[in-house]
């Protein structure tokens, strides 16, 4: 199989302005992936399937990743003007303005996103996997991604699952409904900020995180009874 860089070059030659980035995997598996621009994802997917040298005819897996908002603290060197009292001549005091280099920590928040990950194989050419990623704009209101179901029918149920558990809305999906949870369910359980229902009434062998939750439940229950 071509390397991800070669595939990236092939995509960019076929789909102008596709905006594909290579996401390197530094682990020993070295399973690098390609991040697609959602706007061009359908065209790129069709190319990957139809190109005779790539022929990714089999979509084996679709999954999601939740990237939380990240607070990044940077140390920046800033020059500041500081007024200092200096001993002047003949015992007088003088006020002097001095430049001083101070280290400041600046924090900025990198907005989080939801990511859909696709694993592709080629049955015809017996190669793969190729990992595709797509990211939403944020985690709250702009969570749309184009559905790849028109290209690979296998994506239909798995995109429904990603929609159900992560809340990514796949535009162009023929039948986007919840698949594992019930229709009235409002949360997205695989998101990192999901809060489970508190039904820890009885834990026979509670330990670690479960013990903590069970104790919290117990204290709340006792508080409401008093």
């Amino acid at each position: 199989m071509k390397t991800v860089e070669e595939i990236k070059a092939a995509i960019e030659a076929a789909v102008p302005g596709a905006g594909v980035t290579v996401v390197l995997n530094p682990s020993p598996s070295a399973q690098h992936s390609l991040r697609l621009e959602p706007a061009h994802a359908l065209a790129v997917a069709a190319f990957l399937r139809d190109d005779p040298e790539l022929a990714f005819d089999y979509l084996s897996n679709v999954t999601g990743v939740d990237w939380l908002d990240k607070e990044i603290a940077e140390k920046v060197k800033v020059t500041r003007q500081v007024t200092k009292t200096v001993d002047g001549p003949e015992g007088t005091k003088l006020e002097q303005v001095v430049d001083e280099i101070v280290e400041e920590t600046r924090k900025h928040v990198e907005p989080g996103s939801l990511e859909a990950v696709y694993h592709l194989y080629s049955v015809a050419l017996r190669h793969g996997p190729l990992v595709l990623r797509m990211r939403t704009v944020n985690r709250t209101d702009k969570v749309e991604l184009p559905s790849l179901t028109p290209v690979w029918r296998a994506a239909e149920l798995q995109e429904r699952e990603v929609f159900d558990l992560y809340g990514i809305v796949f535009t162009g999906h023929p039948d986007l409904r919840r698949i594992l949870m019930w229709d009235e369910f409002k949360d997205y359980p695989m998101r990192k900020d999901y809060v489970e229902p508190d039904d820890y009434e009885y834990e026979p062998t509670a330990h670690d995180a479960v013990l903590k939750r069970a104790q919290e439940h117990r204290s709340r229950e006792q508080g409401s009874r008093d």
Partner: protein, 220 residues
């Protein structure tokens, strides 16, 4: 009332002495029709129990009915997800009295390995009264047979009048159990206060421990 020894002695002479209650319960326990439904891997063991090797037919329970209207026994064999729970309770409500429940396996009695998950009910006894709990993952067919024999013993011991009579002979007893709603975050209500928490008979003599494993009280 004929005492037991005399009854056995008369039996040897070919005279059968019994009571209506005994005869009635003998009839009930010897022909329990379980409902034919399985929820997960425990169902495979349940199927094995009914087949030739373990042969549940020896106990009069070989007729698995595919309709709740014709069944007396619900074997909850497997994981009950929160999506499935309302249907299980509804099926139970549709069964005619007298009806009994065996919760088979770790999942059905407590949620099992999925207990800390967001989508699995932590035991079917939160919504319907369970007569026999069998632990195991999955329980072997022998365990299901043991549970069935325990249930038969329970049926045998039920008086037909007075305190402790089965629900179908008690006009005031509740025979229908509220079906939980599938809410925005969880099942609503999360448990049926009428049946949960379960009062375990005979547990009073054992020491009770709280969630940290400390001994709370010792009842005698």
């Amino acid at each position: 009332m004929v005492d037991n020894e005399l009854k056995i002695e008369l039996g040897k002479q070919g005279i059968l002495v019994t009571t209506i209650e005994e005869l009635y319960n003998w009839g009930r326990r010897s022909s329990v029709w379980p409902m034919q439904f399985g929820l997960a891997c425990c169902a495979i063991e349940m199927i094995a129990t009914t087949m030739a090797r373990y042969d549940l037919a020896r106990f009069g329970a070989e007729v698995f009915r595919p309709s709740p209207r014709q069944a007396d026994l619900m074997i909850v064999s497997g994981t009950v997800t929160k999506k499935m729970a309302p249907q299980v309770v509804r099926l139970y409500n549709q069964m005619a009295e007298p009806k009994y429940v065996i919760a088979m396996g770790a999942c059905a009695i407590s949620g099992g390995p999925f207990k800390q998950g967001y989508n699995v009910l932590k035991g079917i006894d939160r919504y319907i009264p369970v007569d026999v709990h069998i632990p195991g993952c999955p329980p072997r067919p022998e365990a299901l047979i043991q549970a069935f024999m325990t249930l038969q013993k329970k049926i045998d011991g039920q008086p037909l009048t007075g305190e402790g009579r089965p629900r179908f002979l008690d006009a005031d007893a509740q025979c229908e159990f509220p079906v939980p709603e599938q809410g925005a975050h969880d099942l609503e209500p999360p448990s049926n206060q009428g049946v949960w928490p379960v009062e375990i008979q005979g547990v009073g003599s054992r020491e009770r421990r709280d969630i940290d494993g400390r001994q709370v009280s010792t009842d005698h």
